[in-house]
């Protein structure tokens, strides 16, 4: 999922300064799962902002609404009824949601309530870790299902580097070496011969070189 983290309240308060009516818009998708921008956090932020603005002597009307996603037109449309007289929307979705909402309601000011961090997994309740950089050409088949682009600190395609020691990456003793993980996985599967295969330089044009990426599926288009 996309993992995000709420911004400091001070920063959000600054971005709604001068507004008379504010909507804090939650997202029921990824950011609900990573406990950062769903209905609960949206209510908490709204409450905190109301209090902050009042203490600062600039009381403002703040309401909330949360729908399943902010990255799909049908849910974005549902926010319409909440936008009457609203000057600023604090979107609690990831950056995609903020932008997609802003695109759909061009006369309203949208500001992010969160910092969108990465595509990750919940390794424990309360811990989220990055797992994929959305590079556009996945090499997991060659690396035992461990991503060298994101789990190796240097994104090496053929590792490990000289800094790998005792299974840890040289950047910190708490960071497992991505290539050690790949080695261990392949060894456990009796597929170590994959380590001897040299992975060619990646075709980074499938990443961001061609500008914003787009996927079209004619089979499901209406």
């Amino acid at each position: 999922m996309i993992v995000a983290e709420i911004k400091p309240i001070e920063e959000i308060a600054e971005s709604i300064k001068g507004a008379k009516k504010v909507l804090v818009a939650g997202c029921g998708g990824c950011v609900t799962v990573c406990l950062s921008g769903g209905q609960k956090e949206t209510d908490i932020l709204a409450s905190a902002l109301r209090m902050k603005m009042q203490v600062d002597g600039q009381p403002v009307q703040i309401e909330t609404a949360t729908y399943e996603r902010q990255c799909d037109p049908e849910y974005v449309a549902r926010f319409k009824e909440h936008l009457k007289d609203v000057d600023v929307v604090v979107s609690m979705a990831c950056g995609v949601g903020v932008q997609f909402m802003a695109e759909n309601y061009p006369n309203i000011i949208f500001v992010p309530g969160q910092n969108t961090k990465f595509a990750g997994a919940a390794t424990e309740h309360g811990i989220w870790e990055e797992r994929c950089m959305l590079c556009g050409e996945c090499v997991l088949a060659k690396t035992g299902g461990v991503c060298p682009i994101i789990r190796c600190s240097k994104s090496l395609l053929n590792g490990p580097c000289g800094g790998s020691q005792g299974g840890k990456c040289e950047i910190s003793k708490d960071t497992p070496c991505g290539w050690q993980l790949i080695y261990d996985r392949l060894k456990g599967q009796n597929r170590l011969e994959l380590m001897t295969e040299i992975l060619p330089a990646k075709d980074w044009s499938k990443n961001r070189d061609g500008g914003p990426r787009k996927i079209v599926r004619e089979d499901v288009r209406l």
Partner: protein, 135 residues
């Protein structure tokens, strides 16, 4: 001090039992208690709402952590309070107005202690900054 408002979220398995006695006679404060099935049920939204609705201070009373009837309810409540205290600091209300107490069900006088403690706290801190602004 009698116009101050204190809201206590109280676990029914421990602190509620000891709260039967209410605040001692020498403490001139009212405490509005909200019964919870477990302190671990307390939610950040509830705590903030209490302040928005005019509480000058809020406390949560749950079992001592090593005797929590729901094993982790009290420690979860404490962690949630820590998070909400940070938010209260950030918004200028002040995290020190939110307090966690651990109370055993067989310890009635402990509730009197809480009442005295809260009264002392409010004497020191004064009314909630939200009220000061409204006045």
């Amino acid at each position: 001090m009698s116009d101050v408002k204190i809201v206590g979220f109280v676990c029914r398995l421990c602190a509620l039992i000891s709260s039967d006695l209410g605040p001692p006679a020498d403490v001139d404060i009212k405490i509005e208690t909200v019964e919870l099935p477990c302190a671990g049920k307390v939610d950040g939204r509830l705590l903030l709402e209490a302040f928005e609705r005019g509480a000058d201070a809020v406390f949560v009373a749950g079992c001592p952590e090593h005797e929590c009837m729901n094993v982790k309810g009290s420690s979860r409540a404490r962690k949630r309070l820590e998070h909400i205290k940070e938010i209260l600091d950030q918004v200028g209300v002040g995290g020190e107005r939110l307090i966690m107490y651990n109370v055993s069900g067989t310890h009635g006088p402990r509730f009197a202690h809480i009442a005295r403690d809260m009264a002392g706290l409010l004497e020191k801190l004064g009314p909630s900054p939200l009220k000061a602004r409204k006045a």
